[in-house]
Symmetry: C2
Subunit: 368 residues, 2 copies
């Protein structure tokens, strides 16, 4: 158990933008909400999974919808209270703590804001270890945990409770309501007890995110002159360098509450004369170098600034920007058969078997 204050929020937000793998929304907007809530209500208590009683009720809180919409539409402020009241009334039980369901992107920040405003602790755990575009894509689905009862509310005051036969149906119905509500809403889902959280959750992910953020911030200040900032960044993040290049084309469209598209890259430095492509569906889902796939979901494909190593979300991709493409290993549960059925490359329309990142890069000019 420890406190999350303003400095911690800054680092978690930066780490979350790396774990977002290009998606999950720029944490910046969520960070403002978390900072506002902490200034109003004081720091948030972060509890370790092991500190949570087995029978305690955990309420994961998230935004659902297109990150680009979220940035413009915003929230009204009362959403967390509405979700909390809906869930408490529906279950007839009190909620012990909130939790992120998605450690990557803006959804890393909203549970902090919710915890501060509701006066509840937040659990150091999530259901992805990164960001994913659909709500059934969580480790809890592998564990057979139901997404419902799920509470949804918009900034206007409309609210909905779902009970569905599968988590894919939750996604279908909640996505339809999200679009009707204007493209982004606040949700409470995968309400579970402490025992379930400990069994299937990605533990200590908030702390890992904070460490990653701190590493990016510190990389240029390191005193060891025998190592380049780039190598220091790759060592701290345990990342694989897949490509370095200048963005030569960006294709982006908002379709069915998703941001879809790709970027084309012309190599720079060691990669001069080479070409790469990164495709995304909210998150980056495949990286191809010289026509050869170097990484696919569920491994994390992160596009970072070539000089500062600050992660670039898909919304911020621009022609001419110089970036490095980095691969990070996904949480081990995603590499099981059940995990790959949910978030493997074929689910996203990439016609290849999943091969772990570290095997794809072997023998190529990628480096760890």
């Amino acid at each position: 158990m420890r406190k999350i204050g303003l400095q911690e929020v800054e680092n978690i937000a930066l780490g979350a933008s790396l774990l977002g793998a290009g998606g999950g929304g720029d944490p910046y907007y969520g960070k403002l909400m978390a900072i506002g809530a902490i200034k109003d209500c004081g720091p948030v208590t972060l509890v370790s999974p092991e500190e949570v009683p087995d029978d305690a009720i955990i309420l994961p809180i998230a935004m659902m919808g297109a990150p680009t919409v979220l940035c413009e539409k915003g929230t009204a402020g009362q959403e967390y209270k509405v979700i909390y009241d809906m869930v408490s009334q529906y279950l007839g039980k009190s909620v012990y703590a909130v939790m992120p369901m998605e450690a990557g992107g803006v959804n890393s920040m909203l549970p902090i804001a919710a915890a501060a405003r509701l006066g509840l602790p937040m659990v150091d755990c999530d259901g992805m270890g990164r960001a994913f575009p659909e709500l059934q894509m969580v480790t809890f689905t592998i564990g057979g945990v139901k997404a419902t009862p799920m509470a949804l509310t918009d900034e206007k005051g409309n609210s909905v409770i779902f009970n569905t036969i599968t988590n894919k149906w939750t996604e279908e119905l909640a996505r339809a309501v999200t679009m009707s509500c204007g493209g982004s809403v606040t949700v409470g889902l995968y309400i579970m007890d402490g025992a379930t959280m400990k069994k299937y959750g990605v533990k200590d992910i908030v702390t890992r995110s904070e460490m990653l953020g701190k590493a990016i911030r510190d990389v240029k200040m390191q005193s060891d002159i025998t190592i380049t900032p780039e190598d220091a960044f790759l060592a701290a993040s345990e990342g694989y360098r897949l490509f370095k290049g200048k963005i030569s084309d960006v294709l982006r469209e908002t379709n069915g509450a998703f941001n879809l598209g790709h970027i084309m890259l012309d190599g720079i430095g060691d990669y001069r004369g080479q070409k790469a492509e990164v495709t995304f569906q909210n998150e980056n889902i495949a990286a191809t170098v010289n026509g050869e796939i170097k990484a696919t979901a569920p491994d994390l494909i992160c596009v970072v600034d070539a000089e500062t190593f600050v992660p670039v979300t898909t919304e911020a991709l621009k022609y001419g920007k110089r970036v490095m493409v980095v691969g990070l290993k996904c949480y081990e549960m995603w590499r099981t058969k059940e995990g790959l059925a949910l978030v493997g490359p074929r689910y996203f329309g990439v016609d290849t078997d999943y091969i772990p990142l570290e095997e794809r890069v072997k023998g190529g000019n990628c480096s760890v």
Copy 2:
């Protein structure tokens, strides 16, 4: 208080197909459900609005979606129980009776099936006095009654509870879920107390529907030879004859869970050489004779077989069919400013002020 058995269901269904004004779905499928439920569970008790205590909870039950989808997709049977349980649990109160919200079309029948299966009485009242395509189009909206909390369930077992800021928002969100569920679902909405039902409802509409059905059935058996069957039908239904003709063209499309389209008519008999058009959005919304509008929503525009006077729903409109177009006056509350804002011709895209049916037909060759 009286019993609704198989013979009453037959007459109510026939009357409901006239009150459906072409829409609301062919009551045939609903009739089979009502008959099945009465055979399984016995006749239904129909209670007059005045017999209902002011504080009793009334649960209107309906199908939401496109009638053409409903006929093919069907229901699983457990829906009424699911809705009843959701509402009882949510309110923490027991339901006194069910009620139709829409006396026209298939939604006249489903509350009978629900009442039989749930062992509850049904109230002789609705919120339209006809059929309309959207759920906020009820007299209760004029009275400021909220459509929510609204319960929705599909035949697969998914269920949703809505709470919205306006009844138009209920329509938006529930329609989105209805489409995601395949185009038709079962709903419980406008849950209200007896006092509210008595204040804003269209009272005794089930009895009127039954009387209309009986009149259509009896019209050819009447013994008064001084009056033609057609005149007998118009007298019994208090209908205005707008046109008689042969259908020369049918345009139909399913769009956003609605059936949209129009029919063109070539006059027969007294109308030979004349042309007419009836446009519909689930229900018939405007009738034009020789380029002049003769009737618009919210008045009822009914297309009936030219010989048998059996109403023809929009799904059953076919090239070559000989029909009579009949206008019926709508419930008086629809003719107020508030009523016309909800269901006036302009809401349906017909660019004309509302003029009551009986004034539009004055001086023309329409007859009562």
